[in-house]
Amino acid sequence: MSEHIRLKKGLDIPLAGAAPAKIAETVAPDLVAIKPTDFKALVPKLAVKEGDAVKAGDALFVDKMCPSISFCSPVSGVVQAVVRGDKRKLLAVVVKADKEQQSVKHNAVDLAKMDRKAVVDLLLERGLWPMIKQRPYGIVANPELTPKSIFVSAMATAPLAPDPDFVMEGQMEYLQAGIDALGRLTNGGVHFSLNAAKAAGSAMSSLKGVIPHTFSGPHPAGNVGVQINHISPINKGEIVWTVDLVSLAAIGRCIATGTYDMSRVVAVTGPAAENPVCIKAVQGMSLASIAKYAKKGNVRFISGDVLTGENVGADGYLGFFDNQVTLLEEGDYYEMLGWIKPFRLKKFSFSHLYWSWLAGKKKTYKLDTNTNGGPRAFVVSDVYGKVLPMDIYPVYLLKACLAKDIEKMENLGIYEVIPEDFALCEFVCPSKIEIQKILSDGIDLMLKEMM
């Protein structure tokens, strides 16, 4: 029997530019990149050099600490560039795609006859392992550990995120194969959370071998971290794994068909999208191939959503886990006496200091990247709790992170959160504090001290 959990705290930011649930076209990008920076605390080791030919599913780089984890090319082609930053840090491996796509062929397997170790080896060998994340910390899972349980959220509440039911159309058999594989990795079962409002009509509600849950409420109710906090919170010493829905389908597809196929539906959204669309594309595609969907002018290209995505630039690449591009106008303008103007009806605020809370839920706003104020110390400290539906005191945890006090961070719940869970706190913060950065640094400190 599925358990229903209703969350009240949170905020659905009414951002303009949602993409209609219809595939406009299939985009075959010329360039594709896989970025080690999409993985927290990963130390990569290159497996190819410029000019090498690769097939889809061939490793581009591996985890230096655990070389059996490989990060594969989503397309076949030629390695065009190895991009490095300061101190020769590896930033991206860029592959120029062939006209005719080829992928590494794997044999069909029968999961029922495999033991846990065989399933782990299968996922490692086929390059599917990086899609499994570990909590605490939000890092790539360690194949030598067994998690308490595995969590999958099939509920998307982030601003303008594409509808999971639409994105997963026709993928049920792959999702099922993915769940079957994950189910072998843990004794605690695979927790699968659906949006309560859509669960009844969703094909995903008939998936087998899961512990089903339904959630309702505003963002971040769809965040897997929030769901874990309500289903079975992480205690010190425990680990759980999480897999996002798109990756789960990719894992299942590779197991069921033997093909490393990282194609996915990508939503091109945001107020600076000329006309928001959904397209069929591939992991790591270059955003230059969708430039035609952006408005002219100073536009920011974000891989992911506006709260947690990365500003990759018009010539950047889609992130490893992302199935959404958000286009925003840069807000680099002055506004005379803006803070004192009584109306400012085009501005959105979670607080009642503007009028947007009276405008109804249908109205959408063309928000830009202006910070709407300068950085300050923590002053109004009760606002964060209103958008964080977890049993955690955000300001105290953040101050422990700033003070680098590991014991306090542990006590206050650092194991249960990753920056995306605090993203809304950062959005509503009147002091414009970089909350996700503080938390991320805190987690880095934990990793350094604990590993």
């Binding site: 930011i13 951002l15 919170p233 205690n235 010190k236 425990e238 709260l307 947690t308 500003n311 958000t326 840069e330 807000g331 680099d332 002055y334 005379m336 006496l337 803070w339 004192i340 400012r344 959105f348 605020s349 979670f350 607080s351 009642h352 200091l353 503007y354 830009d368 990247t369 202006n370 910070t371 709407n372 104020g373 300068g374 950085p375 300050r376 110390a377 923590f378 002053v379 109004v380 400290s381 009760d382 709790g385 049993d391 955690i392 005191y393 300001v395 105290y396 006590n411 206050l412 920056p419 993203a423 950062e426 959005f427 509503v428 009147p430 002091s431 414009k432 970089e434 996700q436 950065k437």
Partner: protein
């Protein structure tokens, strides 16, 4: 113009002041760098200006009441606009001193620390003249403001880091350093050149001596002697409505503070609700106790904190023969203990987490 004030420019010593003026007149064009790409439209300036708007009814009433009390005490037969004008002339120097001295130190410390000037002082500076007697000598006020800004706030690291409400600390400084200018019966009516100073007891001192002659209506509307802005519960209530409507101040603190005051008020000789409309109770409850920095920051803590402020304030009024008023000391006391209350509330969360880990 900007480069002159930037680092290395001719006037770089005034850089913070320039920044403050620039961000005062223009919302800066800074864009998000990392983290969320969009930000809520609200900032501290918007928050602070809302508190100031909430204070406007009190401010306007104070101007009138100063003139009204003078007229009444000296029997001058002034008309309405004369009373307003005379009141304005009395309150203006208080504001000039408060803002000039306060902002001077704010800018100085912002420059030393290389930060933007914080807008917190807009509110503090607006509050200070409202909580002192109108007859306070300006040099005393200047010293007290300097003390509140430097010792009360900047030494702790500025707005957001202070332990005590700076405006109240300013009042406490005056109260203990110059008690004769802050209490008694002679300080509440603005002086008029050529006349002797007039004595006039406030409701609180009348209550202490046992013969309260003001009606509840007088005290609610506020045409009574007292510190500049504290007298009109009606105008304070208007401000409270705005603060609660916009969510700037915590209704939990206000409600529990009133509850605490009423409960202890039952022990007194006068009706308990008199405690809410006399002296600085209403003003402190709405504008001082709810300061987000110095109050409790956990929601449970706010209930406890507010309740204890109300209770202690009335307890001091009723059972301490030394001071007729207790609101200021009650708030400062609870400011001191707010971190402790929060610590206990957060501690419960920590214990819950540890217990969960043990049973798992």
């Amino acid at each position: 113009m900007k480069p002159t004030f930037s680092k290395g420019g001719k006037l770089s010593a005034l850089g913070s002041f320039f920044d403050a003026m620039e961000t005062f007149f223009f919302v800066p064009k800074t864009v998000t760098a990392r983290g969320t790409h969009i930000k809520d439209s609200v900032d501290l300036k918007r928050t602070m200006i809302t508190v100031m708007i909430a204070l406007i009814p009190v401010f306007l009433f104070s101007i009138y009441n100063i003139g009204y009390q003078m007229n009444l005490a000296y029997g001058l037969g002034w008309g309405f606009w004369t009373m307003v004008w005379k009141g304005f002339l009395k309150i203006l120097p208080l504001y000039l001193v408060s803002y000039i001295v306060g902002l001077f130190f704010e800018c100085m410390f912002a420059q030393i620390k290389g930060e933007e000037v914080n807008e917190g002082y807009f509110v503090t500076g607006f509050l200070i003249p409202l909580i002192v007697p109108v007859t306070i000598p300006l040099w005393m006020l200047a010293i007290a403001v300097a003390f509140a800004v430097v010792i009360g706030k900047e030494v702790f690291g500025g707005t957001g880091m202070n332990i005590w409400n700076p405006a109240l600390l300013c009042r406490a400084f005056l109260f203990f350093s110059y008690p004769k200018m802050m209490s008694g019966d002679a300080v509440w009516i603005a002086h008029k050149a050529g006349y002797d100073a007039v004595s006039c007891a406030t409701p609180l001192s009348e209550m202490a001596s046992g013969n309260l002659h003001y009606s509840a209506m007088d005290m609610f509307v506020g045409l009574i002697p007292g510190s500049v802005g504290e007298t009109s519960t009606l105008c304070i209530l208007l401000g409270a409505i705005l603060l609660i409507w916009t969510g700037v101040a915590s209704w939990k603190i206000m409600l529990s503070c009133v509850a605490g005051g009423l409960l202890v008020g039952l022990l007194g000789d006068v009706p308990a609700y008199y405690q809410l409309i006399m002296g600085g109770f209403a003003f402190g409850c709405v504008f001082m106790a709810t300061d987000p920095v110095t109050s409790c920051q956990t929601e449970t803590g706010k209930w406890i904190y507010g309740f204890l402020i109300g209770a202690f304030a009335v307890l001091l009024r009723l059972f301490n023969p030394g001071y007729p008023e207790g609101m200021m000391l009650a708030i400062l006391l609870m400011n001191t203990f707010a971190p402790l209350i929060d610590h206990l509330v957060v501690g419960a969360n920590v214990r819950r987490r540890l217990r969960r880990a043990k049973t798992a």
